[in-house]
């Protein structure tokens, strides 16, 4: 009974947000991977991707968002983004370049740069997304 009441309270918002969330995520991915050509990059994409989850949490309740993406997964993601960034630098060192010198990552320096920037931006995006969602979880559910 209670649950049915809660679900019907913001019926219009819930349906509109349900329709919007996939497009927000798609736009975030566009911003992430189109940063080479237009404005955008890991930071903005991460924030937009996190916004999709935060909107879900605002409308459906944080408890249900926690079931979608749990805080422990987010903690792993936070670290793995930074690690991906730093490891890109370490790999380029191992291949004979300087730290974060992407020229070495492929046979051709230009495509090496391309792959390096891709990996680094992905790391930024993963970390920013997970930190933003974790912050929202912390602020939204710390009662008392």
């Amino acid at each position: 009974m209670m649950r049915r009441y809660r679900q019907q309270r913001h019926r219009v918002l819930q349906i509109v947000i349900k329709l919007l969330i996939p497009f927000m995520m798609l736009f975030a991915l566009y911003v992430q991977f189109h940063g080479d050509f237009g404005p955008g990059g890991g930071f903005q994409a991460g924030v937009i991707f996190a916004a999709a989850f935060i909107v879900h949490g605002l409308i459906f309740g944080v408890q249900r968002t926690r079931e979608v993406i749990s805080p422990s997964v987010l903690r792993v993601m936070m670290a793995s983004g930074v690690l991906l960034y730093a490891l890109t630098g370490v790999v380029s060192m191992m291949l004979g370049g300087a730290f974060l010198d992407y020229d070495m990552l492929a046979a051709n320096p230009l495509s090496g740069q391309h792959w390096g920037v891709f990996a680094v931006e992905l790391g930024v995006g993963i970390t920013v997304t997970s930190v933003m969602i974790s912050l929202f979880y912390s602020f939204a559910s710390a009662r008392n």
């Binding site: 990059g41 903005q44 930074v82 730093a86 920037v117 930190v131």
Partner: protein, 217 residues
């Protein structure tokens, strides 16, 4: 000319927003004004052709930080406590610092000056404009500067974001949250439909107090 006029008008909006934020006692309204401030700043960046910065400001400043501040406000009162004493020393210090900062800007190059050192120095703007297509090969020069030429800086920024996350989790997030009373009852009513999960919830509900306490201890 119209561009300059637009920037002046937007900057005046910023000043009005700031004064409003200082004077408002209603914190909810102050947070909303802060969002408007960020959006106006993003507008200024667009007029200045700094699209990447504008994008970040709109997404981070106007979007996420407003939501996070609102989430914080849901734990406190919406009305700021009135201060009984007035701080003359504080306003004197702030004014002196502000005047010093304005004095510091007098040495800076004029707005849009193409002869400024940042524009003419061979290792900064000139290098990025002329060499980045051959060296990095990415059309968006901002991305190639941020991710390739200034890779260390960006790594540092990501570490800062990571540390901020760790800090907040340490203060607020790590303790195991007790399920809300209402969500718990919701899940209990669904017990029949979701066999295992429901049983687990019921068990948790039965002993939640003692279990939580023993886990923390």
């Amino acid at each position: 000319m119209t561009e300059q006029l637009l920037i002046v008008v937007l900057l005046m909006f910023l000043v009005v927003c700031t004064i409003g934020i200082i004077y408002l006692r209603d914190l909810l309204a102050a947070v909303i004004l802060l969002g408007i401030y960020s959006l106006t700043a993003a507008g200024i960046f667009v007029v200045m052709d700094a699209v990447d910065v504008a994008f970040t400001e709109a997404a981070v400043g106007a979007g996420i930080s407003t939501i996070l501040l609102l989430a914080c406000l849901s734990h406190t009162n919406h009305i700021q406590k009135p201060q009984s004493h007035s701080n003359y020393w504080a306003i004197i210090m702030v004014s002196v610092t502000g005047l010093l900062l304005i004095y510091g800007t007098l040495d800076m190059p004029m707005y849009g000056d193409i002869m400024s050192p940042a524009q003419t120095h061979p290792d900064i703007a000139q290098r990025f404009i002329h060499e980045s297509p051959h060296e990095v090969g990415i059309q968006n020069m901002v991305t190639s500067v941020l991710a390739s030429y200034r890779g260390y800086d960006t790594l540092g920024e990501v570490v800062v974001v990571f540390c901020a996350g760790i800090g907040v989790l340490t203060m607020l997030g790590l303790k195991r949250r007790e399920p809300d009373a209402d969500t718990l009852t919701d899940e209990l009513t669904d017990q029949g439909n979701e066999g295992d999960a429901g049983g687990e919830v019921a068990q948790r509900a039965g002993q939640s107090g003692s279990v939580q306490r023993s886990r923390r201890g």
